[in-house]
C-alpha cells in the first residue's frame, strides 16, 4: 500500500489487455469456432461452388461467367462474405455481453481502461478471428481449385478489409443498441440476408433490375466482391469505381470506429 506517492503507470496500449481477455473468452468456444470455420465454407463450396458450378459450366462452358470458372467467380465473394459474418459475430455478441448480459465492460472501465481501449480490444479480437477464418477459407478454396489465377491471394486482404469495415459499423451499431432482440431481427433479416443475396455474390449484380441493384450498392459485400474480382482475375472495372469501392469501405471503417469509440465512452461514463 505504499504506492500512493509513486505515480502508477497506465498501460500504454490498454486495448492489448482487452484483446487478451477476448481471446480467452473465444477459447471457451474454440470447438464451435473451429467447426463453423471449416464446415461453413465446406458446405458452400460443395453445394454452390461444385453443384451450381457444374450446372453453369455445363450450360455456359468452363469460362461461363465473367470469362472465368464459376468457382473462381464466386471465390472472392465467398471470402468477403465469411469475413463480414465472422467480424460481425465477434463485435456484436461481446458488445451486448459487455454492456448488458454480464456488464463486464463496467468492470473493465473501473481500471485504467477507457471506452476507446475497450472498443479497440473487442474490434481487434474480431479482426483476429476474421483473419483466421479467411485463412482457413482460402485454404479450402485452394483445395477446391478456386484459387487458380495467379493473383488469387489478393482476395484475402480485400476480404479482411471488408470484414473490418463492416465490423466497425456493427461495433458502433451494437453499442447504441439497448434492445438486442430487435437488433438481431433487423440485422439478421433485413440487413445481412439481403446483403448476401443482392451483392452479386452468386451472379453479376448487373443481371438484377436497377431498383434491386441499389441494395448491392450500399452493401460492403458488393464493394468487396467487385474489388476482389478485379484483383484476382482482372474483372473489368474503371479506376473511378476502384476508388469508390475502397473509399466506401474505408469510410465504413473510419466512421464505424469513430462512433463506436464515442458511444462506448458515453455509455460507460454517463
Amino acid at each position: 500500500m505504499s504506492l500512493i506517492n509513486s505515480d502508477r503507470k497506465v498501460p500504454k496500449f490498454g486495448a492489448k489487455y482487452v484483446l487478451e481477455a477476448r481471446i480467452r473468452g473465444m477459447l471457451k468456444f474454440v470447438w464451435i469456432i473451429i467447426a463453423v470455420t471449416i464446415l461453413n465454407p465446406l458446405l458452400y463450396l460443395v453445394s454452390i461452388g461444385v453443384g451450381v458450378g457444374s450446372l453453369i459450366s455445363h450450360n455456359l462452358g468452363p469460362h461461363g461467367i465473367d470469362g472465368v470458372s464459376y468457382l473462381t467467380f464466386i471465390a472472392p465473394a465467398l471470402l468477403a462474405a465469411s469475413a463480414i459474418q465472422s467480424a460481425q459475430d465477434e463485435v456484436v455478441f461481446p458488445t451486448f455481453q459487455g454492456f448488458k448480459w454480464s456488464r463486464i465492460f463496467y468492470g473493465m472501465n473501473a481500471t485504467p481502461q477507457t471506452g476507446s481501449s475497450i472498443a479497440t480490444g473487442v474490434f481487434l479480437a474480431a479482426i483476429l478471428r476474421t483473419v483466421l477464418g479467411v485463412t482457413v477459407y482460402s485454404i479450402l478454396l485452394y483445395l477446391f481449385g478456386a484459387m487458380s489465377s495467379p493473383h488469387s491471394y489478393m482476395a484475402i486482404p480485400i476480404a479482411i478489409f471488408s470484414g473490418a469495415a463492416f465490423g466497425a459499423v456493427m461495433l458502433a451499431a451494437a453499442s447504441y443498441t439497448e434492445n438486442e432482440d430487435k437488433f438481431f431481427t433487423i440485422v439478421g433479416r433485413f440487413l445481412v440476408g439481403p446483403m448476401f443475396l443482392f451483392s452479386g455474390t452468386f451472379y453479376p449484380i448487373s443481371t438484377l433490375p436497377l431498383v434491386v441493384q441499389i441494395f448491392g450498392w450500399v452493401s460492403p459485400l458488393w464493394h468487396a466482391t467487385e474489388l476482389g474480382r478485379y484483383a484476382t482475375y482482372g474483372h473489368k472495372i474503371s479506376t473511378t469505381m476502384i476508388i469508390v469501392h475502397v473509399t466506401y469501405l474505408l469510410a465504413m471503417l473510419v466512421f464505424g470506429l469513430f462512433f463506436a469509440f464515442r458511444q462506448y465512452s458515453k455509455r460507460l461514463t454517463n
Binding site: V10, E20, I104, G107, P112
Partner: protein
C-alpha cells in the same frame, strides 16, 4: 500531497432536471474507512462513481490523490479498487481467470498476478472454487470474488458500493470480517450502504445523505450523541392506538417519534420511562429497551426510516 486522499467541494450532478447530488463537500483521509449512509436514491452511488472517475460531474471540485478525475481518469483508476453495486464478473471465465484477466487490465505483469492469486483466493475463501466457472458461484461467493478482484492491483483506495446488499446474514458477516481485515491493514475504504449496522461496524467516519445532500457528518458515536439520546424505548400499543397515545408519551421523555407500527421514546434511561408509562395506566403490547443507533439518527434528520 496533503493527508486527504479525496477532497470534494460543491459537487453537483444533474441528470436533466433531476439533481442527484446537490453541492456536497467532504474529504477522506488516508487509511480512513469512510461511509455514505442513506436510502436508495440519496446520491451515494453517483458520488462514488464521480470519485471513481467513471462519471462526469455537472459542477464543483473533485480531487482524488491530488488529481482531477475528469482530466486524469485512467491515472486515478490505476490506484483504485472498485466493488460495484451490481456484480460484473466475466461469467464465461473461471474464478482464477477472472482475477488474472482483471489484473491484466491494469497492465500488471502475468507473473505478478499469478503470485497474487493464491493470497486473494485465501482472502476470499474461494481456494476450493479456483477452477470453477463464476456462473456456478453463490451470491456471497461472487461478492467476495468481486472484492478480491478489486484488490488484485493493490489499490490505495477501495471503493465498495452497497457491498452486502442482497446477501443473507451469514454471507454478510463473512464479508464484514473480510472488510474489517482490510481496514486493519490500513487500506482506505469508501463504503456506501443503506444498512446502519454495516455503517456502524465498518466506518470510522460517515456522512448521512438524503436527496443528494449531506444531512450530517461524523463518527458513528458522535452522530448518535449529537442527534439521538443514549437509549430508546420502543413500545407498541397496536396500530390504531399508537397515534392516539403519542401526546401522553411526549410528556414522559425528551423526544418521541411515531411510526405506523410503534412509538420510539428517546431518553437516557429506557427502563425508567417504561415504568412511568405503566404507572400512567397504559400497558403496551410489547416493549423494547435498546441503545440508540444510526437508524435513529437518520429518522431524526429526515423524518423517515432508512429502508422504506
Amino acid at each position: 500531497m496533503s493527508e486527504n486522499l479525496i477532497e470534494v467541494s460543491g459537487l453537483t450532478k444533474k441528470y436533466g432536471d433531476f439533481v442527484a447530488v446537490n453541492g456536497i463537500d467532504f474529504h477522506v483521509r488516508k487509511s480512513e474507512s469512510f461511509g455514505f449512509l442513506g436510502p436508495n436514491g440519496a446520491g451515494k452511488s453517483t458520488t462514488m462513481r464521480i470519485i471513481a472517475a467513471t462519471s462526469q460531474r455537472t459542477s464543483g471540485k473533485v480531487s482524488v490523490l491530488g488529481k482531477d478525475p475528469e482530466v486524469e481518469g485512467p491515472q486515478i483508476r490505476a490506484h483504485l479498487g472498485v466493488v460495484p453495486q451490481q456484480d460484473n464478473l466475466d461469467m464465461q471465465l473461471t474464478v482464477t481467470e477472472n482475477l488474472y484477466v482483471y489484473g491484466r487490465y491494469f497492465g500488471l505483469p502475468g507473473k505478478f498476478i499469478r503470485s497474487k492469486i493464491d493470497e486473494l483466493l485465501e482472502f476470499a475463501q474461494l481456494e476450493e472454487k479456483r477452477n470453477v466457472k463464476v456462473d456456478a458461484l453463490s451470491g456471497g461467493m461472487k461478492r467476495r470474488l468481486t472484492i478480491a478482484r478489486a484488490l488484485v492491483s493493490e489499490p490505495d483506495i477501495l471503493i465498495l458500493d452497497e457491498p452486502t446488499t442482497g446477501l443473507d446474514p451469514q454471507a454478510r458477516h463473512i464479508l464484514w470480517d473480510r472488510l474489517f481485515r482490510l481496514k486493519e491493514d490500513g487500506i482506505t475504504l469508501l463504503i456506501t450502504t443503506h444498512y446502519m449496522d454495516e455503517a456502524e461496524q465498518l466506518c470510522d467516519r460517515l456522512m448521512v445523505m438524503d436527496k443528494g445532500s449531506i444531512m450530517a457528518e461524523g463518527t458513528p458515536l458522535e452522530l448518535i450523541k449529537k442527534y439521538s439520546s443514549k437509549e430508546v424505548l420502543e413500545v407498541r400499543f397496536g396500530s390504531n392506538r399508537n397515534a392516539l397515545l403519542a401526546p401522553v408519551m411526549e410528556t414522559l421523555c425528551e423526544r418521541v417519534e411515531v411510526l405506523p407500527d410503534r412509538i420510539l421514546l428517546y431518553t437516557d434511561d429506557a427502563e425508567e420511562v417504561l415504568e412511568n408509562i405503566i404507572s400512567t395506566g397504559h400497558h403496551p403490547n410489547t416493549s423494547l429497551a435498546r441503545r440508540s443507533s444510526l437508524e435513529d439518527v437518520f429518522l431524526r434528520l429526515t423524518g423517515r426510516s432508512l429502508i422504506d
